[in-house]
């Protein structure tokens, strides 16, 4: 089975997406079973990863600069070198083996998009503070941060083709489909949700499952009784030398989408590298 994880980043002097992707790739190598640990990086400038010690964690490095920022993910179906792919956001960490999720998707799906997220306490996120557009316009609650697809699936192709059209024509689609609440920016999540709604395939690509489980660390959705700009203003991030992560009083076992880009420091990288070296 030719399966792998795809990370698409557009890095520049003022960002550290390459480092975040490197940390994610290390964490994948450290936690996933053989055959489920391939990683492909799509990056605008290969030189951004030259300084990393263990670039072998990227099984494929694809230089591609046709889009910037997150727009590159719209081309995940065209960019992936794998037959079966899970496309991930770069600011995530793997903390245990999730290979069995992949087995399910490969066997049962041509395309599956995450439709829920969790707080650091393991509670389902119900607050729509960052998703007013979804609620007001009755969009399916899709998250592009973990998207499974089969490369040569016509079904998946049709979906990605439409969401690319949405990303290219945000005003036209907003005027037609986001009349009740227009977001400042039509991002990948909004484009995915609109595409699923227009094609009427939500029940096929985002039906209820117990997985994937992704902890989404945006401040206002942690079920706290007070507003919070960032999670780290209120609880600590504790990353130990075994690569285990505790947030506040909670040991994390699901994929953590940490959002705050400065949480992956050189020390974090060093720990992940050391674990990877010992494993391999």
């Amino acid at each position: 089975m030719n399966f792998g994880y795809l990370i698409v980043v557009s890095d520049k002097e003022t960002s550290n997406y390459a480092r975040l992707a490197y940390a994610l790739a290390l964490s994948i190598k450290n936690t996933q079973r053989e055959g489920y640990d391939k990683v492909a990086l799509v990056i605008n400038d290969k030189s951004r990863i030259e300084s990393f010690t263990s670039t072998w964690v990227f099984d494929h490095v694809i230089e591609w600069d046709k889009e910037t920022h997150w727009d590159g993910r719209s081309y995940m179906d065209e960019l992936t070198p794998f037959d079966y792919t899970v496309c991930l956001d770069a600011d995530m960490l793997f903390l245990r083996d999730y290979s069995h999720w992949v087995d399910y998707f490969v066997e049962n799906c041509q395309l599956y998009v995450s439709n829920k997220s969790f707080t650091y306490r393991g509670e389902p996120v119900t607050n729509d503070y960052y998703r007013k557009c979804f609620t007001a316009n009755e969009l399916p609650n899709l998250y592009s941060f973990y998207t499974f697809f089969v490369k040569d699936s016509p079904f998946a192709k049709e979906f990605f083709k439409l969401q690319r059209a949405i990303m290219k024509n945000p005003i036209e689609f907003s005027n037609n489909f986001l009349e009740k609440y227009k977001p400042k920016v039509v991002g990948t999540d909004e484009a995915f949700a609109m595409a699923a709604k227009i094609l009427d395939i939500t029940d096929e690509i985002a039906y209820p499952l117990e997985f994937p489980r992704v902890v989404h660390l945006k401040g206002m959705i942690q079920n706290w009784p007070h507003p919070a700009e960032t999670v780290s203003d209120h609880v600590g991030f504790y990353f130990d030398t075994k690569g285990k992560l505790k947030i506040g009083n909670y040991q994390q076992h699901d994929i953590v989408h940490y959002v705050e880009k400065d949480k992956v420091t050189l020390e974090t990288i060093n720990i992940l590298e050391e674990i990877a070296w010992k494993k391999n």
Binding site: G122, Q222, H234, N249, Y250
Partner: protein
Amino acid sequence: MKKGIVMFAHNNRQIDYVKMAIISAKLAKKNLGVPVSLITDPSTVEWMRESNIFKVASEVFESIIITERPKDENTRVIFDGTEKVASPFKNANRNSVWDLTPYDRTLLIDTDYFVLSNNLNEYWNVDSDILIAESYNDIFGQERTGYLDRHVSETGIKMLWATTVMFTKNENTKVFFDLVEHIRQNYKQFADLFRFNSAIYRNDIAFSVARHIMYGYETDNDYSLPPVLSITDKDHLYDIDNDGNLVIMISPKLDGVYCAAKIGGNDLHVMNKQSILRNSEKLMGLA
């Protein structure tokens, strides 16, 4: 496996916990059909003899276990409807139940918890070493329940309610109760770690933290005892009617304005202790 109920009662000048324990024990024996034992201290036993309730207590309780009176003392404001008084209370020795219980499987309940159904009998054979009430259930509804009734702190772990705890006496629960004691002894340190208010030692918090640690610092969906249906100390247990229902005066906004309600056949945590004692004779009659 011998099963039974255990209660703690350490009297003070304001509250006659032993009298409450006798009422609670009689109701529990009647509705669950298991023996009840009391853990108390020498000065409370002395008072039981002076006030001529030792004989009644001896009949109600299968055993009266005398232990050292806890040295640490909490003082808290307790309400009796709109009246309030600062009252000391001794709650720092709950962890000793593991050593002191005469039972293999023990249901530990507070003396202000009235077992009026046989619901808890469903849990004796549950395959779980320790069960704690999963939440607080206000009789008027969740609108009177605050965030800190559900969590130990704003960012912290879920609050369990140690009003009802069931456990099997084994090595695993020994570790649990030792951990509760460790948390009690280092309460301020754990308050820093778990961000809770350390002003008053609360068994609910110590038990919640201990369970969270024992379960690997993560949310678990293991078995628990049912939510503790409660009336606050700003409500009143007003009367017991001829059908054995509890007549309650509920203050919806906790402001001294009341509405009346009746409840029967449901286990109930009556936090207004003075109102229990005012109705002690009628409550005794229920059992």
